[in-house]
């Protein structure tokens, strides 16, 4: 079901669409007579595409167990669009956000993505937590020449045409702007080694889908390299979005590990910790994504767990950056709680797109076509964001970040936000991200 790449074949429908667009413009013109008319539009360039709206479609959970991760993504995108529009838009074009609720099955999400591509004709699809959902949506967007900026799903192979076969290359329209699963697992492994070197027994609990299994494989491989003497218990794989972790908690209580590595996210994570805390098992142990929970939740953890692991919110930057801090402070003020991971993810996608449009605009001197934006995005190099710069890796369409991980404590700088506490570890992309077209396990095997 692949339509010839990049080849533009005008069809009857396109003609109708043009007519429609023309009619809409005419109507808009009539409907806004009170506007101070400054419309003798100078058209100097030979092909002047008028700056139209840039449409960004976001699919993320708005209800249900993963809403804690999805709702902040929706809210953040709205906020970023508002800010940019107030400042004149991206290269003069206003940003319009279209929201879709994500379903619990990947196929549901595919239906939503088809709607965004075919019906709303968005320029960008973003959001979509869940590696399995993200993998399912990638070919849909690519077929429709629509950007798919993966930011809430992690797989480093998310941009590949075939997750099993890197030789087939990447999708033209799929980019990945956040850290990979490998990065998460490797950061956690470094933390165990450097911050908790006395660790002997490590337990793992992951959701039973792609992200969970990847985390297990990568973390296990990394620990075997970094701490060959540590004992790794068999992993537990609860069903994703399942309510009751008590049986898993009892398994962990029986096993008495020194360290629990978990990749649970959203409500699954907070419920798991809720159910684990009363057993006092967490004293002196840590877990990977422990900071993916609500901000509200930290005080509850704080009393019982002196130590926790690598902070998702800081994956892509630090709150030392004022602009980033402003976004977070705004969010916390407006919505009461703060899922920093989701906010940071959406920022990465939004600013990657913004940078690409602006670069293409500068090069052309006029508003670029979608194909031109795509080329610009591929050759972006540095990606400026409110939390520092990422690097676009052209080969596999991934943005790489320098990360900091460590033990998180509450507000130490008076920002009203969680802050990284020393000791912390700073990792360059080469330390925590695999090279292009290589999965975590293959890369770690070469360490």
């Amino acid at each position: 079901m692949k339509i010839g790449d990049g080849m533009y074949k005008p069809t009857r429908r396109d003609f109708l669409k043009l007519l429609g667009v023309g009619a809409a413009w005419a109507l808009l013109g009539c409907a806004q007579p009170q506007k101070p008319v400054a419309t003798p539009k100078p058209t100097p360039t030979p092909t002047p595409t008028p700056p139209k709206d840039l449409k960004i479609g976001i699919i993320s959970f708005r209800a249900g167990p993963a809403a804690a991760f999805g709702v902040p993504a929706h809210n953040t995108l709205d906020y970023l669009a508002e800010q940019v529009n107030a400042a004149g838009g991206i290269a003069g074009a206003k940003v319009k956000v279209i929201h879709e609720d994500q379903g619990l099955s990947p196929s549901d999400t595919v239906e939503k993505a088809k709607k965004l591509c075919l019906q709303d004709k968005v320029d960008v699809v973003t959001g979509i937590p869940g590696t399995n959902h993200s993998l399912a949506v990638a070919p849909v967007c690519d077929e429709n020449n629509t950007f798919f900026l993966q930011c809430q799903a992690r797989a480093e192979y998310g941009t590949w045409k075939d997750p099993e076969d890197p030789s087939k290359g990447v999708f033209d329209w799929v980019f990945h702007t956040a850290n990979s699963t490998t990065s998460h697992a490797v950061q956690a492994a470094y933390m165990v080694k450097e911050l908790f070197p006395e660790t002997k027994v490590i337990a793992q609990i992951h959701q039973d889908y792609a992200y969970g299994y990847d985390n297990y494989n990568y973390f296990t491989a990394a620990i075997k390299k970094l701490m060959p003497e540590a004992e790794l218990l068999d992993p537990l794989y609860p069903k994703i979005f399942s309510p009751d972790y008590t049986p898993y908690v009892s398994e962990l209580v029986d096993a008495k590990p020194d360290f629990i590595f978990t990749s649970l996210w959203g409500t699954d994570f907070t419920r798991f910790v809720d159910q684990l805390i009363p057993y006092k098992l967490l004293k002196g142990t840590g877990g990977n994504t422990i900071l993916e929970g609500y901000w509200d939740f930290y005080p509850a953890i704080g009393r019982d767990i002196p130590v926790y692991g690598h902070p998702q919110p800081f994956n892509q930057g630090s709150i030392e950056y004022e602009e980033y801090r402003n976004i977070l402070t705004w969010y916390k003020k407006k919505y009461g709680n703060l899922e920093m991971g989701a906010v940071a993810d959406i920022i990465s996608a939004f600013y990657t797109f913004k940078a690409a449009v602006e670069k293409a605009y500068d090069e052309k001197g006029a508003f670029p076509t979608r194909d031109e934006i795509r080329d610009a995005m591929e050759n972006l190099g540095k990606v400026p964001t409110p939390y520092g710069e990422g690097i676009m890796r052209k080969e596999d369409h991934r943005v790489l970040w320098t990360v900091e991980c460590g033990v998180l404590v509450e507000d130490t700088k008076g920002y009203g936000l969680p802050y990284l506490y020393k000791p912390k570890i700073k990792l360059e992309p080469s330390k925590h991200e695999p090279p292009a077209f290589m999965k975590g396990t293959d890369w770690i095997a070469k360490w």
Binding site: L236, P243, T246, V253
Partner: protein
């Protein structure tokens, strides 16, 4: 080992409360209430609203009872206002009506309590943990099991030893004859629905500190309660008790022993029971064919 048993018992207690409600409603009204999971979810949400007022442990312990009572009243309204209209049209329509209500409740909850998942483990933290031999267990978990057991005993007492119970049982046996003896059958139906929904809402309230709630939990709970209902035998409270314990413990131990197919084992038990004894373990109802 001991934590696994305790956890199995917690799960069994909750299942028992929800499934007993379902089985009582089936026994008296001959309706499988597909919206029963929604009453459970309603219980969690209401308990959450109640516990917003204070962190006082007494309030947190009382919340499930209040939540259950409110769920019961909504249950009466549902039975009198909607379900009553389709009595006599066959179980198909009663079933489909309650099925439709799942969705109505889902969005009503969303409108009232928002889309974000909720939980409140305050009471678990406040009560702390106790040591049972060599295992430590949160005290709240023990409380939950005990209170469910007490409720089961009270229910048995109500149905077997009181006049109200006698009327309820008589209605389940033959509504027409009961009504001929001057009993207002409508009143019995409403009371039954109150009782069933109270149990579901109460169970939900009890689980607030452990699992919390989100949209979608209703259907998960409904399916598990249906499993208990058919395994135990429809209409049998004794069956619900045995089946809840069976499913609860199998699930709890399944996770440590056969983690790969833990979920499937529960359904496998259900299918096997239905093939071998279609009326369930304790079902007295004759099945055709």
């Amino acid at each position: 080992m001991i934590p696994q048993i305790i956890n199995g018992l917690i799960f069994a207690s909750i299942l028992f409360l929800v499934a007993t409600g379902l089985t009582i409603i089936w026994g008296i009204l001959r309706v499988v209430n597909f919206a029963h999971g929604s009453f459970y979810l309603m219980g969690v949400f209401i308990a959450y609203s109640i516990t917003r007022f204070s962190t006082e442990p007494a309030l947190h312990l009382a919340a499930p009872f209040i939540a259950g009572a409110i769920a019961g009243i909504v249950g009466i309204a549902f039975e009198r206002g909607l379900l009553k209209n389709v009595y006599g049209r066959g179980e198909l329509f009663e079933l489909l009506l309650t099925y439709g209500m799942i969705f109505v409740f889902m969005d009503v909850f969303r409108i009232i309590w928002g889309s974000m998942p909720i939980s409140d483990p305050t009471i678990t933290f406040k009560l702390g943990i106790i040591s049972l031999g060599w295992a430590v267990v949160p005290l709240y978990n023990i409380y939950l099991i005990v209170i469910a057991a007490i409720l089961a005993a009270l229910l048995w007492f109500l149905l077997i030893r009181t006049k109200v119970g006698m009327i309820i049982r008589a209605t389940s046996f033959d509504p027409e004859v009961t009504s001929a003896f001057g009993v207002n059958v409508n009143w019995v139906y409403a009371l039954t629905f109150f009782l069933g929904c109270f149990l579901a809402g109460f169970a939900g309230g009890l689980m607030l500190p452990i699992t919390g709630a989100w949209i979608g939990l209703d259907v998960d709970m409904l399916i598990l309660a249906l499993v208990v209902l058919v395994v135990g035998g429809m209409g049998s409270i004794k069956g619900a008790l045995v089946a809840s314990l069976l499913i609860g413990l199998v699930r709890s131990f399944g996770i440590s022993m056969f983690p790969a197919i833990e979920l499937a084992i529960v359904y496998l038990i259900m299918v096997i029971v239905l093939i071998v004894k279609p009326s369930g373990l304790f079902g007295g109802v004759e099945v055709e064919g």
